[in-house]
Symmetry: C2
Subunit: 464 residues, 2 copies
């Protein structure tokens, strides 16, 4: 990086972009300084740039590169790892104004859309044409498809339908010097050269700014949702049910777990009248149509009962399905009422879920912090939610100790330190523990190859 | 590359490896000089190395790197693009002796296996444990999973189940200096750092030598195969049926097309008694169980009839399903009886399949060559098979002209020049036409980052 002043880059930006695209006021700079990761460090950016076209993104990156100023790209800022947090002296480049759905190809089943389209808006647009975009992060109402791709976002349906990566066919990318390239394809298959599209997915804005995506779609029809929700007297009984469902070769379209702490928080807030003997809820969906779906739901219900479920509820009517999944939807906001939530995101082998949950509880007990659990149990992807009361610095410090211990336990059980939220800043130490020095050197070599001057989102995605 | 003599590397190899691992005789060097790509250039290697462990692969690559000698890695040599063809002064490193299935995890549904395990052997090993490895290249009986991953092999079930890439969770890789790294994970999800696993898949041995793979599996049970085979009076009628099946939102587990030239070759060889009014066969499978599968098969059969099929045959009994697909299995060997077959591998948007088939026929007519067509029609992935009689150099030259024209037509229709066989050597000009100069520069930068001395499989995978 050359030494540069904020004024250099602002002058270049103003020469290239309409003034409505550049914000330097304190309020805006503060609002765009961080994502939704609690306690990840951040700085105030020099400016926030809000481009409205690929050409404007390219111009902004060119200006930053010319001035030797860092660029932190950002979708909606809903990330939970600090990947979009501003670094000292940077500009934040928000893709939020790039919201055009450019093309929907019904015959080939793909959509081309700008990076700033919200996940739910994309789903709605393609649903009108009888098509379905499966990836469903919990943030789907407020997160962008560009951010989803940059972080390889997961969600609830992953257990059957995979993650964002599995739907990205191609993309338009602004490289670190401002040049625009098109990667990937629109066809169903293709093996020309290295899969740079897949390299960019999950690279957290460190290798290029994703400005446009070509996403594979599935037919909307042909599925029928059935919910099966079991209430269990203990976490371990629910863990046995998860293992039994997997071992039976069943692939539900959702298999979520909510623990006692979450359930109590939801119940205290919304008075759902959850019986007090319920310790853990296991929420499954299957979406095979007709008799096959009915059979799968029967088998899941039977396996829940056999594993010790106190009650097992079934639903097929869409409103009833939604009612049964209500506690899942309310869990996160219910917990946020108790204080800032530090969201963990470890992923362990499915068979290790009960052991990992026990270790999480031990980390909570030993550090005198509250940890609630939401889990994509069918994927072994756990979200321990560590809560420290607002303004209690001692509790915050203990929460951080618990966070680190959970990461260590996850690695010890053969897991990975981030299942779907990304490394960002919060998981840099975890990534350093998980990846070997030579693999980290490969990361550095790839980064240097594609961003030789280190312009894009420095210090994110992998430990330096 | 430093200048080196063959003796330097042989001396180093002999110091590091048992003598049974090193072959320098003319017959072996010739046998390992090329894969199954007709007419791709090749040289004789200095030696063929047949390591039996990861440590031996690493030692061989270290020796080659020290001597500045190129390494061409190879599975079973069944590739169709020349990706495994020897270059001047290289050693060929065959993984064929690394055939151990190391671990099958039933709970987590993955297998860890060495690169030299044959695809069918892997399927058999996991099937014994109630698990299924979907990727099914036509070469599955003779190709290795290491080669499948290095080329991101496709197959027949891709239309529903995806390609090799979709099943690779992680791998052990010997890098260009002989160091061994582990990439990826064993968990269902994970987003730590760049997805170097996916970068290696399909990189044709140019970035590292894949020595071990962790592959995701599906449950073996829960599927029931039903075949629906329609015979059509014209290619265009079959094309209409493909479009109708896709538009109806049906996702068959196979949707294959065989044209008149293939059918005649099969019939002349095996006297199947195919009626002469049959111009094109469209072969579909569905594998949804029970009523859903029956319904899908009904709908496919109805759409075939409505699109002009002369006959539509149905089968559910496994032997009958196999009988209906017999012409598909026999097509390639039947054509090989007519002369050396140059296999094309273009992939176009599904809607462009009829137009692409028409252009292929025009390329055949204008160049006076025989071109037969097998197509993974449901993916838009066509395999025009260009046949030139043995020893007819003029026909061979005309075939080459037709080959290039088909590639150009594919790009003009929005397709990609290789759907599943890879760039190797045969598709270097096509890749140069498809990829922009800057995207090619990105390839070169990534290659230089991970193999700075250019040791591994030089000149393959992307045009220099």
């Amino acid at each position: 990086m050359t030494t540069a002043t904020g004024e250099d880059v602002l002058e270049l930006l103003r020469a290239e972009l309409p003034s409505s695209r550049i914000r330097t006021d304190q309020v805006t700079r503060d609002a765009y300084s961080r994502d939704d990761a609690e306690w990840a460090p951040y700085e105030l950016p020099i400016a926030v740039v809000l481009p409205e076209s690929v050409a404007e993104v390219a111009a902004a990156v060119r200006a930053a590169a010319a001035a030797g100023v860092h660029v932190v790209p950002r979708g909606a800022g809903t990330g939970l790892s600090g990947g979009a947090n501003a670094v000292a002296g940077c500009i934040v480049l928000s893709l939020e104004r790039m919201t055009a759905v450019l093309e929907i190809d019904e015959a080939e089943r793909f959509v081309v859309a700008q990076a700033g389209v919200l996940n739910d808006a994309l789903r709605a647009a393609v649903a009108e044409r009888g098509l379905w975009y499966p990836p469903d992060p919990a943030s789907s109402a407020i997160s962008t498809i560009g951010g989803n791709a940059a972080t390889n976002a997961g969600g609830i349906c992953c257990v059957k339908y995979g993650v964002t990566r599995d739907y990205v066919l191609g993309m338009k990318v602004v490289l670190a010097d401002g040049e625009v390239v098109t990667l990937g394809r629109t066809t169903a298959k293709g093996v020309v050269g290295y899969d740079l599209t897949q390299l960019l997915v999950g690279s957290e804005g460190t290798l290029g700014v994703i400005v446009e995506l070509t996403l594979r779609l599935l037919p909307l029809g042909g599925r029928e949702e059935r919910a099966v929700v079991g209430s269990f007297p203990s976490l371990s009984a629910a863990g046995v049910a998860v293992a039994a469902i997997t071992a039976a070769g069943l692939i539900p379209s959702a298999l979520e777990l909510i623990d006692r702490t979450c359930l109590r928080a939801v119940d205290e807030w919304q008075q759902l009248g959850l019986p007090h003997e319920v310790d853990t809820l296991l929420l499954a969906k299957v979406d095979d149509p007709g008799a096959a779906g009915e059979d799968a739901a029967d088998r899941i219900a039977a396996l829940m009962s056999r594993s010790g479920a106190v009650t097992v509820e079934r639903a097929t009517d869409p409103d009833e399905v939604n009612r049964l999944f209500r506690a899942r939807r309310l869990a996160y906001p219910a917990l946020e009422r108790l204080g800032p939530v530090l969201t963990e995101d470890v992923c362990v082998p499915r068979a290790a879920v009960p052991e990992m949950l026990a270790r999480i509880q031990a980390a909570a007990d030993d550090n005198d912090v509250t940890i609630a659990n939401i889990a994509h149990a069918g994927d072994g992807n756990l979200h321990p939610l560590i809560i420290a009361p607002e303004g209690d610095d001692a509790a915050k410090a203990r929460a951080k100790v618990a966070f680190d211990r959970i990461v260590d336990d996850c690695v010890a059980l053969g897991g990975t330190v981030t299942g779907e939220h990304g490394v960002g800043l919060l998981k840099l130490p975890g990534a350093a523990a998980e990846l070997s020095p030579r693999v980290l050197a490969m990361h550095r070599a790839v980064k240097d190859a594609l961003d030789p001057h280190g312009i894009l989102n420095p210090g994110k995605a992998f430990p330096g």
